[in-house]
């Protein structure tokens, strides 16, 4: 991480710790207002990080925001901060004034959209173009899942129309999910490790048991794979190639289930109690895994693209993903 990254990250994390700690997240899940949290983000200027400088933003690339989005994931924040950053950049690029509140990215109206119950607007991919619609026009309905702020959307989006990025919103949204997952699994790995060193059974910390060490080592491998795959996904901006998004989402979504399972296994019964923070992260992991295409969806997309080319696997990967 460069000094510039640190300069960007440190105040962001301090703000997150101030306004979006576990108690604040629980309050949101219990139906509390998002206003105080949102006001902090709006006042900070971070929401326009991806907006071009000549349009009044910071002109950063998605790769610059990797540690910030990961920090959002590590806080299990159910507010669409990263989604709003992307939406504001797309709107600014189209010369459309962005509304003040939270915006969700909607790559499909068919399945629940994370954080939609806290959004004021939705940027909806209609296949031909994007539409910026007040969320109310999409009649958000709770999913009935305990603690979830995802919503089912329906109806027809109403509002300004803008050009659709090549490949649509789904690749960009999938990379954001991958970054959020990477942040959450890093925190879970830390928590599981700390708990394993702390919890004593059979007269010694459970982290001294080889069976646990082997499981936690695999967790660390998955955590590093998530970090690097998510960074790879965020390495191109503003056009996010489908093959990059697929790689990032396949790796992180597949690892999310394993890491959630291992984290719970290490923590035992306390990990599934509401009062303990672990469940905030693992519930979010499962939600993000299913959002904007799971590992199975993106595997089909990536494999179909791969089979269309005669090159060797590594040559194709170098050209399509690492170029």
């Amino acid at each position: 991480m460069t000094m510039a990254d640190m300069d960007l990250l440190d105040p962001f994390v301090r703000m997150l710790d101030d306004v979006a700690g576990a108690d604040a997240v629980r309050a949101l899940e219990a139906g509390g207002s998002t206003r105080p949290i949102w006001q902090a983000f709006a006042d900070s200027g971070y929401l326009d990080a991806l907006v071009a400088e000549d349009a009044g933003g910071a002109g950063l690339a998605l790769a610059d925001l990797v540690p910030l989005v990961a920090a959002l994931g590590a806080h299990a924040l159910p507010v669409p901060v990263a989604e709003t950053m992307v939406a504001r950049a797309l709107l600014a690029g189209a010369g459309i004034a962005a509304p003040d509140g939270p915006i969700v990215l909607v790559s499909s109206l068919a399945q629940p959209v994370p954080a939609a119950l806290l959004a004021d607007h939705a940027l909806v991919d209609m296949g031909e173009a994007l539409v910026l619609s007040p969320i109310a026009a999409l009649m958000p309905q709770p999913t009935g899942v305990h603690g979830s702020l995802a919503a089912l959307l329906s109806g027809t989006p109403q509002g300004p129309v803008l050009a659709r990025p090549v490949g649509g919103l789904r690749p960009i949204a999938a990379v954001l999910r991958a970054l959020l997952i990477a942040g959450a699994v890093a925190r879970l790995t830390d928590m599981a490790c700390a708990y394993a060193n702390d919890r004593v059974q059979f007269g010694k910390p459970i982290g001294r048991q080889q069976a646990l060490q082997q499981m936690l080592a695999v967790m660390a491998e998955d955590m590093v794979a998530c970090r690097i795959a998510a960074q790879l996904g965020a390495s191109r901006w503003p056009q996010v190639p489908v093959a990059l998004a697929a790689t990032a989402k396949i790796t992180t979504s597949a690892a999310a289930t394993r890491i959630a399972a291992s984290a719970h296994a290490v923590h035992g019964a306390i990990g599934i109690s509401e009062a303990y923070d672990l469940q905030l992260l693992t519930r979010r992991l499962h939600e993000w895994r299913l959002a904007d295409g799971s590992e199975g969806y993106w595997a089909g997309v990536l494999g179909t693209a791969r089979l269309d080319h005669g090159a060797s696997t590594v040559d194709w990967v170098r050209a399509a993903i690492f170029a």
Binding site: M1, A186, T189, D190, C193, A196, N197, G207, R208, Q210, L212, Q213, Q214, L216, A217, V218, A220, E221, M223, V224, A225, R227, I228, A229, Q231, L232, S235, A246, T247, I250, T251, A254, E295, G296, W298, A299, G300, V301, L302, G303, T304, A305, R306, L307, G310, S312, T313, V314, D315, W316, V317, I321, F322
Partner: protein, 381 residues
């Protein structure tokens, strides 16, 4: 945790080496049958290794003063990636280039550097690793082979086993006990260079389950060595071996052992016009891309001058898991279509990789040992 393992890029200047490798591959490798190319690691061709040396593709990480090219770990990554993806026979120079020369450079005397490294860079001098013994596998600190001081230098007695390519190698760098007893564990171990043509050395090949004999038993019966056989400090063998294993574990070779099979299967699907396995192709492609990025990230730590022991273990454990999964899922895919013709060449390659795959997570440290290293790196135990 493990924060330094982060996305890194291959320098464009090193990418230029691909064309040089491809030219050699076209002339020496492309016409070989598929199952021979799948043997890449085990493929022994001293002529090809000398051709690589002549083309300036060995010793990429080593100083010019010793015949190297001072290009660094990224250049080696590029060359190794090209060689393994082509299924080139790399066994002859493999160990010397990857770990023996860097070890001698780091711990050897000036005379040892001058004597060995230039010829390694030319692909002329072949090395093997003397670590495992009949009673010392994962528990390497229990080695019993001894080197005792004499007036002229050292005398070696004992036995190594599972020693890859010892039959064709010129020298072995062996981990031996130079003082104390096996109960002293890591203390009293040293590394010595043994001329495998010296009197008292007997090498007996061991045939493996694929019919190949790439590894062997090596016996030492009063083998006399000069005083200059010792590499590094007497008694520091354990620390030196740990550094050497970081070289061994951190390269791209730990993700590409089955890639010749993967490519052959993709060509099979394309020729058959079959798309029902696209999701499997996609899943494997994403894993390969992620592992490649992880391996480049680890290479960046080498390039920064670090000895990334834990990071290399992370990449190797995940990488060998991928290498081992490939033949199993590809076999299932082919046999899930029992009425679709499969060429004899593809079938033989599939079964070769299937049978040899267990070795992927044995060589260079078992899965269980690596996970123990990672756990320690996480602050457990």
């Amino acid at each position: 945790m493990f924060d330094t393992l982060t996305l890194a890029q291959l320098p464009p200047a090193d990418e230029d080496l691909r064309a040089v490798v491809r030219d050699l591959v076209a002339r020496h490798v492309a016409a070989r049958p598929l199952d021979q190319r799948a043997r890449s690691w085990q493929g022994f061709d001293a002529g090809f290794s000398r051709a690589l040396g002549a083309a300036g593709l060995l010793g990429l990480t080593l100083p010019r003063a010793y015949g190297g090219h001072e290009r660094g770990p990224f250049a080696r990554f590029v060359v190794v990636e090209e060689l393994l993806c082509a299924g080139a026979p790399v066994a002859a120079h493999w160990i010397a280039d990857r770990q023996s020369a860097p070890l001698i450079l780091r711990y050897g005397t000036e005379a040892q550097r001058q004597m060995y490294i230039p010829r390694i860079c030319r692909g002329e001098l072949l090395f093997c690793i003397g670590m495992s013994e009949p009673g010392s596998g994962s528990d390497l600190a229990s080695v019993r082979t001894r080197a005792d001081r004499t007036d002229a230098g050292w005398v070696v007695n004992g036995q190594k086993i599972w020693t890859t390519n010892s039959l064709h190698s010129d020298y072995m760098i062996a981990l031996v006990r130079t003082s104390g007893a096996p109960t002293d564990r890591q203390a009293g171990l040293s590394q010595v260079i043994i001329d495998l043509k010296a009197p008292g050395v007997t090498i007996r090949p061991i045939v493996d389950l694929t019919g190949d004999a790439h590894f062997a038993e090596v016996f030492f019966d009063n083998v006399a060595l000069g005083a200059d056989a010792l590499v590094g400090q007497e008694g520091e063998g354990w620390q030196q071996v740990a550094a050497e294993l970081a070289f061994e574990r951190s390269g791209p070779e730990r993700i590409y052992s089955s890639v010749v099979l993967l490519d052959a299967w993709v060509r099979h699907l394309q020729a058959a016009g079959r798309t029902d396995s696209a999701a499997l192709v996609g899943r494997l492609t994403a894993e390969l891309a992620t592992l490649r990025a992880m391996s480049i990230a680890c290479t960046a730590r080498l390039a920064a001058g670090e000895s990334p022991v834990v990071e290399a273990s992370i990449v190797k454990d995940r990488g060998t898991g991928f290498e081992q999964e490939l033949p199993l899922v590809i076999g299932d895919d082919l046999a899930t279509h029992p009425d679709e013709p499969v060429s004899a060449e593809l079938y033989a390659t599939l079964m070769y990789v299937t049978h040899v795959a267990p070795s992927f997570s044995l060589r260079g440290g078992t899965r269980e040992i690596l996970r123990g290293i990672i756990a320690r790196g996480m602050g457990l135990r």
